[in-house]
Structures are given as structure tokens and as C-alpha cells.
Amino acid sequence: MSDLKSIVREKLRDGADAFLCLKNEEGTVLPALITDADSPDLELVEVGDSRYPLGKILIDLLREYPDKRFAVLVRGCDERALVELSKLEQVDLERLVLVGVACSAEEAAACGCLRPYPSDIALGEKVEAAPGREVIDEVESLSDAERMAWWREQFSRCIKCYGCRNICPMCFCKDCALEEPHLVEPGVIPPDFPSFHIIRALDMTGRCIDCGLCEEACPAGIPLRSLYRKMQDIMEDKLEYRAGESAEERSPLSFLGSEQDIEKLEE
């Protein structure tokens, strides 16, 4: 995409020390950090259709190179991740320049997130979302006992690869509850039902930005994204909050709050 190439060059000339984007290497699209406007990698930059957790990569880059400024190519999901990570004090938006790319209609339909475009679009055309709710609807049509059996079956395929956590742009803790032996027995597959998956779902509540990378990385095909999306629906319903949307408003689960918050709850 020649457009992207000129944007990368422009941002590097305009003061960004490096541009985190994607490049096509031998047919495979993967993240690349371009530090030089004359880099041969510039010829390879491409939006492509493989998504990687750029937000998570940036957490490390900002720490590793504390005096550098980065430009970054963001889809809607990447932008939401950075916005939320900023409120959680994991990235400093002041040191970032976001270059937005809108997902194509095809990509948006295949992925199904709520907002397949960033707030500022430099590349691509904005298309509206078509979020699928099939899994959530299916689960909600079941009785309590059927729901539990349904999830038990899904989680029984889990081989504890931790891929859902490892790829998640919003998972950055140094100590992870999933590795706490009192909560999840180590060395056993499938992991304890339902603690492993509930712990993750709860940690995602008010935090998940619905990128769907977890589900893409899950070798077992567990509908994790629907589980976490339901958690965001609950947050919105109970506490009027959806992660990644506002740059100022923080998750109500991250501070004590006021009596009004409780009143909302009791309605």
C-alpha cells in the first residue's frame, strides 16, 4: 500500500523516532518497527489482514526506549486498546502518534466488532459494524443448568496454552491470577472449571476492547470473545461503561467512586 509507505515516511520525518506497523515478509504479514525513513523495510509495509497485539508491543517499547516517540498504525481495536491502556497507565499517549486505518467491509463483517474504525481515519473507508450476537443469544436461550453444561463442554477442550492471555493487548500484569496455584491447580488440563475462565472473564470486565485476538489464538475454538463481550454488556448495563471508548472516563471497577454509581446499580 503506497499510501501507508508515504505516511510512515512522513511521520518519521515529522518527529516520530519509530513507526510500529505491519510489513509483508515473504508473504507473511507481521509487526515491524521502522526507525529510518530510508529503511528497506519501508518497501514492505502493508496493512494486511493478520492482526497482532500492537498495543501490547507498545507497552514494552515505551518502557524499553523511554526517551522515544512512536507512531503506530491502529485499527479501531488497536486504538481502543491504547486508550484503555493509557487510563491504566501502561502507555503514554503523549508519546504516541496514532495513524488510523478503517477495516474494510469484508474484514468488519468477518470480525464483527462494535466499531471497526478508529476515531481518525488516515487509510481506508469507514464502514459500520455488524456485531454478531449468535453465541450470546444461544447461551441466553438456555436454562441455568444447560448454560453450565454448554460452557463446561466448551472449556473442556482448553489445553491451558494461555494464548488468550498472552495475545491479549489488555493483559499486562506481572503476576497473573491464572498462575496462582490456590485458584487454578497447576499442571492439569483442562484447567479447573470454571475458575480459570471466570478469572479471565472477570479480569476482562471493563477492560476488554473486543479485538477478538483471544479467540483467533485459541487452539480449542472456545468462544471467548462472546464471553468477554457479554461481560462488557453487563458493565454497560450495570455501570454505564464500555472499555476503550472514552479517553477520560475510567472503568468504575478501577476506583471507589461515588454514591451515584451505586444508585445506578440498584435500579
Partner: protein, 142 residues
Amino acid sequence: MAENGSEMNYRLVPSTCVYCGTGCGVLLEVTGDRLSGTLPQKDHPVSKGALCIKGWSVHEFVYSERRLTKPMVRSGEVLVETDWEAALAAVADGLSAARDKHGPDSVGFFASARCTNEENYLLQKLARAVVGTNNVDHCARL
């Protein structure tokens, strides 16, 4: 943390997981001059963007304190560090001595299901063309 003004480097290097025979596609994450993580290769024909726990942590053993970093030769009960020149000479002497004294078939080679095709090829070529024995095998059976 890198020192101020140092060159920035962040790369993902496509490779293949080296644990089991499935051969999943991994991207080795390099920050500065060190391995910093592993990501799945999204478009890999076998693993299709997924990995098991071993794949996700395949970079971890590389900086183990138990890595061998120096050639060593035995001196009595202990192994002592030496340089490559001396270590290779010791191996060449050890293998040649057995071959010259007891014949090529007194020497054996274990190739490795953990090493590359190129390395295994070279080892069997060494056994066959240089030492003159077909005594070369690896742990395929184990």
C-alpha cells in the same frame, strides 16, 4: 531499559517451534539484541495462529543459566574451559585415534532429532566420508 540514544531494535523473526513434531509457526520477538517473547504466526498452514504452552514459551530456555557457553575438555575428574581450537583438536584426535587403532567401525555418531536437516546431513557426511563408518543414528526410536 535501553540506554539513552542507543539504536532502537524490535523485530519479529519467523521460525518454527522446536518442541514436538507438529511444527507450529512462531515469530520470535527480539527487543534490542535479546529474545523477548514468542508470538504465533497467524498465517501458518499447520498452527493457524495458535500455539500450545510450550510454543508460547519456546524462547524461555535460550537464556537459561545452564546453557553451555564455553568449550570444555576433561582433566581428570573435572571439565575445564578451553578455546574452540583446542577443543576441536581434542575431538579430532579422539575420533582419529580410535579409527586408526581399531578401524572406522569402532567410532559412532549420534545425530539428533533436535538439530536441523543441515546439521544432521553434515554429521552423517562426516561419519561416512571422513571417518568411514555408517555408525550414525539418532533418537528417532526413543
